[in-house]
Amino acid sequence: MAIRFEKVNFSYGAGTTLAQSILHDVTLEMPTGQVTAIVGQTGSGKSTLIQHINGLLKPTSGRVTIDNFELTHHTKEKELVKLRKSVGIAFQFPENQLFANTVLEDVMYAPVNFGATKSEAKLAAEHALTRTGVVRELWGKSPFELSGGQMRRVAMAGTLSSDPSVVVMDEPAAGLDPKGQGELLQLVLELKKLGKTIVIISHQMDHVIAVADHVVVMHEGRVVAQESPQILFNRDITWFKTMKLDLPKAGQLAEKLRDEGITLSRRPLTLNELADLINTEVSHE
């Protein structure tokens, strides 16, 4: 499902003297079946932006189109049910929202809520838990007995169990250990293979380069770039400083090498690219 924002403005308390404007004239597209990463410093409007994708927030002006659903200031609450069924959102630290007595019941909640029968919901939940790598032995346990990494996967399964065609994740890998982070990025790529449209917010540019096809950069509530990671991360270094955006770690180290007089022929974006460049251009010159 293609997602399109057209001149979206959003203010909290719009029309009052306390109105606080968060999004300004946001026009963007998140391509169908691809992974779009939204980046930008804390407070740049990323979380506000994604809450428009399933209608948790409605634009103060402008419109958001999600496939053939149109979301504007005038959209009625009851119309949103259809949208919420096709857009699953996993917020930051989604494990904080686990609530049911058992892992399985927690993950069954969304499909039941959207009208599935109990046995349909159970099947969907088992499927989602398997996909996120939660082993069967844990399904009957209380979610609160699990480790942090396991809880995260249960929460992710809860987002996937209603089989949404758009999956939105806010910092899905934050706080996980390296193995857990790797598994989460793998999950993102698997979901893409299933044809889902994926939107992730991330502060980690190494994750962006690993999974994203398309990147939207937010700065002070505006979109300041939307392009492929390869194009984005080859922008001039001064632009990154202005936007308070990091390069991937390989690019950061290449900048430091340049300050010390070691200039590589291009800017590496991954660890292996950096190692290859050093091996061919520095060590075996």
Binding site: D177, K179, K256, L271
Partner: protein, 273 residues
Amino acid sequence: MTQAIKINNLKYTYDDKDTVFDDFNLEINAGQWLALVGHNGSGKSTLAKLILGLIEADNGTITVFGEQLRIDTVHHVREQIGMVFQNPDNQFVGATVADDVAFGLENKEMLSSDMPNVIDEALTIVGMQDFKDREPHMLSGGQKQRVALASVLALQPKIIILDEATAMLDPDGRATVMATLQDLKQRFGSELTLITITHDMNEAMLADRVVVINDGQLILDGAPSEVFSQYDVMHHNGLELPFVGELAVRLDPKPDGYLDERELIKWLSDLKK
């Protein structure tokens, strides 16, 4: 050298079935900054809870500044230890930042006339003095964790344990908290023992000593450069090296042992000459 913490022969079984620690031993000297690292579920947070007496060991002893942790000593032991947790939002009780720092002092029955100075000093140390009248929930994650640290500092603990205290922060927030910790070490030296529990090696490399645990076993123990020289062991235990360490093992030729960023850049410069 005074011993801050001595863990001897520790045995702990979770839920009466999963053994977390069996015959675990660790000694931490006063004034040391120790990074306790391991993947999610390796037992590192459980160890912190055992030291604080929040859970009870099945066997073995934990001694804090010479005092063995027991039911009758647990309160006194805890008074010497400050703890900062992972979630910055779960640690606030006060309406303002200053109130929040005051809360712990009230519990300690400090005279209210003495409080303003203590609060100011603690907030100044973490660089949050300009925020003392602000509402805690309006702060950024990094600022919240520094206030949590100030609340702990105001109580003048001899040991501070930070359990994944930067895991929920954005890169900026993480950097400010780490800088604050480096500052604390400079300021207090041997008066303050710091234990950071983390799986972020860029954080662990700031410590004096890194201890890697997995399945309740001590896997590696040494200076960061020693521990980070053990690439295979680290990976085998679900951990990575700091970025420059991961880079170094992919280089041809590669440097002997672990080099930090500055050292690696110099090594490469020399190579080019």
